[in-house]
Every structure is written in structure tokens, then in C-alpha cells.
Amino acid sequence: MELIEQIWTGSGIYQMKAGQLGMLVVCLLLLYLGIVRKFEPLLLVTIGFGGLLSNIPGVEIATGDGLLHLAYEVGIETGAFPLIIFMGVGALTDFGPLLANPRTLFLGAAAQFGIFATLLGALGLTELGLMDFSLREAAAIGIIGGADGPTAIYVAGKLAPNLLGAIAVAAYSYMALVPIIQPPIMKLLTTETERQIEMVQLREVSTAERILFPLLLLLLVGLLLPTAAPLLGMLAFGNLMRECGVVERLSNTTQNALINIVTIFLGLAVGSKLSAEQFLVPSTLGILVLGMVAFAIGTASGVIMAKVLNKISAQPINPLIGAAGVSAVPMAARVANKVGLEANPHNILLMHAMGPNVAGVIGSAVAAGIMIMFAS
């Protein structure tokens, strides 16, 4: 009888608190979004499952020597996992469209306005007494507007580990919501005629330029803003392996086995931070609302900047590709292409939008470097 009581008192049902039950529902929702709605499934499925494992009371996997806690300590606290993911992203990214049209970097720059506006919003809510975010926390929240999962996790791990779960969930969820959030804003800010603008075909990019670009990127970021250099450096390293043509086996493994293994443990580790005490609080609601606003502002800034560029540039620029500057690669570029096709069925913007799209990744990492420099 005693043993049966021990089973009962050791069971998850007996030990379950309301908060944990709430988190189980949240995690099942994440799994639903990932599996059924196909929202960034690589991350939402792993984060969601990690959250389930961590919120069942009595399961010793997200604490002490548990696998998920080890993954968190080794990979998130040190920043190693987001950096390795960035290396993988670099190995997967074709910077050709950006090299063919460097001006699109300005679109990627403008879209980062969403990041800083959100920072300001978070601080404003605090001034109003509605929330209670420190400067570090506000900076970490702002990065959601960068639409870049690993960057957000890297910054949150450094500046606001307590908000990591909410920030990662918001970042990946909104990246998936790009096709819903962006089009209305894009249409609101552009005329039918602007959306019909056709762009001239991209020039050829030589192998030498492709190889030199990651080195240029690393040296510039290192010389100007070293706090952004780990992120952009690993991105550049991955891309150099891709383009240099002599380490194909390393590039292949980086694009496949390595990034997949790290994604699995990154997701589980982030999930292990989805605790009720840290997630089921008003600030999460604030983060979700602010993240949405950040996205909208970033999209708008990108489009407006594209309109400005179109005015001052000799060659026409379709303002829609400005929206791709928020990154969310390659979803945002596809959205720009789709909205463009609606206005002009001959207008293939995809490759043109890839320029600002990858520029947005660089821009967000630069913004992350600034946040880390000032807020820490």
C-alpha cells in the first residue's frame, strides 16, 4: 500500500500545478501551429516538445544533469547553438542577389527600425507602469522585430535569459506569420502602379566576389562593431565554406547533419525554458503584442525606404521588395514576389527580393551587436 501511495505522490497528476497545466496547453498549441499550420516547424515542433517534457512535474530532464538542461547550459548560455545555426545559415545562403545589387542593403537597414521602435515601445509601457522591463529586457524584446530566430535567441541568452522562452516563441511564430502580417501593410503603403514596377535583370556575379564577400563582411563588422562579429563571423564562415569550392564536404555537413543536430537540441533547450513562472506572466502578453508591432513597423520601414530609393535611383526599384528587408528568409521574399505577381503577372520579384531578404539578416545582427554593446 505504501508503494502504491509512493507511485501516486510521485505521479505527474498529483504534483501538477495549474501553471504547468497551462504550459502544457501552450506547448500543445505550439505543436499544433508547427505541425498542422506549418509555422516554422523545425523550431516550433522541437520547442513545443521540449516544453511538454519540461512542464510535466517529476520528469527530471530539464533540471540538474538532465539532457535538456545540459543542452541549455552547453548551447544557449554560451551562445554556441545560435552561432552554429548561423554558420549553417551562411552555408545555405546565396548572397549572389545582394552582390548583384548592393543598394538593397539599405532596405535591410531600414527594416531594422522595427527593432528599435519596439525597444522604445517596451520602455514606454514600462514608463506607463503597464509593464516592468529593464533596458536589457527591452533590447532583447526589440530583436524579435529582426525576424531572425537564432539572433533573437543569441541576444536573449545574453541580455534577458528569463525572457528567452517567450522571445524565441514570439520570434519564430511571427516569422511564420509573415504571409499574413505583411501583405496588407505592403498594399496600404504602395500604389497599384508602384507594385507593377518591373526591375532590370540582375547582373552576373563572379566567383571571386562570392568568395571575397564573407571576408569583407567579417573584416568590416570586426573593425566597426565587434559585438556583432560572433554572429556575422560565423555566418561569413559558413558562406565562405559554401563559396570557396575547396571544402565541399565541410559545407555539406554544415548544411545538413550539423545544423539539424544543433536545431534539435536548440529547440529542446529553448523549450526547457518555457516554465509557467516565466511564460504565464503579463510580460509575455506584452512581448507578443510588441513583437507583432515590431514586425509591422519593420515591414513598413522597408517599403518606405524602397520608395525613397526608387525616387533617387536611376534604375527602377519595386517598393514591395523593401518588405523583404525584415529577413524571415526566404518567406518574406516569397511574399514580396506573390504580391508583385498579383499586380503584374509578368513581374518576377523573387530574386530581387532575396537581396534585401539576406540584407535583413545582416542588419538584424548589426542591431543585435549594438544592443549587446549598450545594454550589457
Binding site: 542593403l105 528599435f116 514600462t126 566576389e209 564577400f213 569583407l216 568590416l220 563588422v221 549598450f374
Partner: protein, 70 residues
């Protein structure tokens, strides 16, 4: 007087956006310079971006589609 959080945020926004633009401007300049140097040193381009074929393929597909559904 200690600046308020909001003041700090405003400053950070101005400096931040400024830095982002300055950095990316420098990068644009660097890329343009690099392209110039590379083209000076290698007169005939070596590599052709994938965009050409893709654009061609998609254009052809659309033309075909238009013919079938005029």
C-alpha cells in the same frame, strides 16, 4: 539628472539606426569597390548567377500559361 529609461531608449534608437545605416553603407561601398577591383583584375566573368535560368524558366512558364488561358 539621471536620464529616464525612455530617454535612454530614444538615444539608443537614434544611435542604433545610425550605426546600422553607417555600417551597411560602408558595406555597400566595400562591395562596390570589391566588384570594381575584381572586374578590373578578371576581365571575363567566370560565374553566372542562377537567376538567369530561373527567370527564363518562370517567364517561359507564364508565357505558356497565357497561351493556354488567354
Amino acid at each position: 539628472m539621471q536620464p529616464t529609461l525612455l530617454d535612454q531608449g530614444l538615444t539608443l534608437m537614434l544611435v542604433g539606426m545610425g550605426t546600422v545605416f553607417v555600417f551597411l553603407s560602408v558595406l555597400v561601398a566595400g562591395m562596390s569597390l570589391m566588384a570594381l577591383v575584381v572586374h578590373r583584375l578578371t576581365p571575363t566573368p567566370v560565374d553566372v548567377g542562377a537567376s538567369d535560368e530561373e527567370v527564363a524558366a518562370i517567364t517561359a512558364a507564364i508565357t505558356q500559361h497565357r497561351k493556354v488561358n488567354p
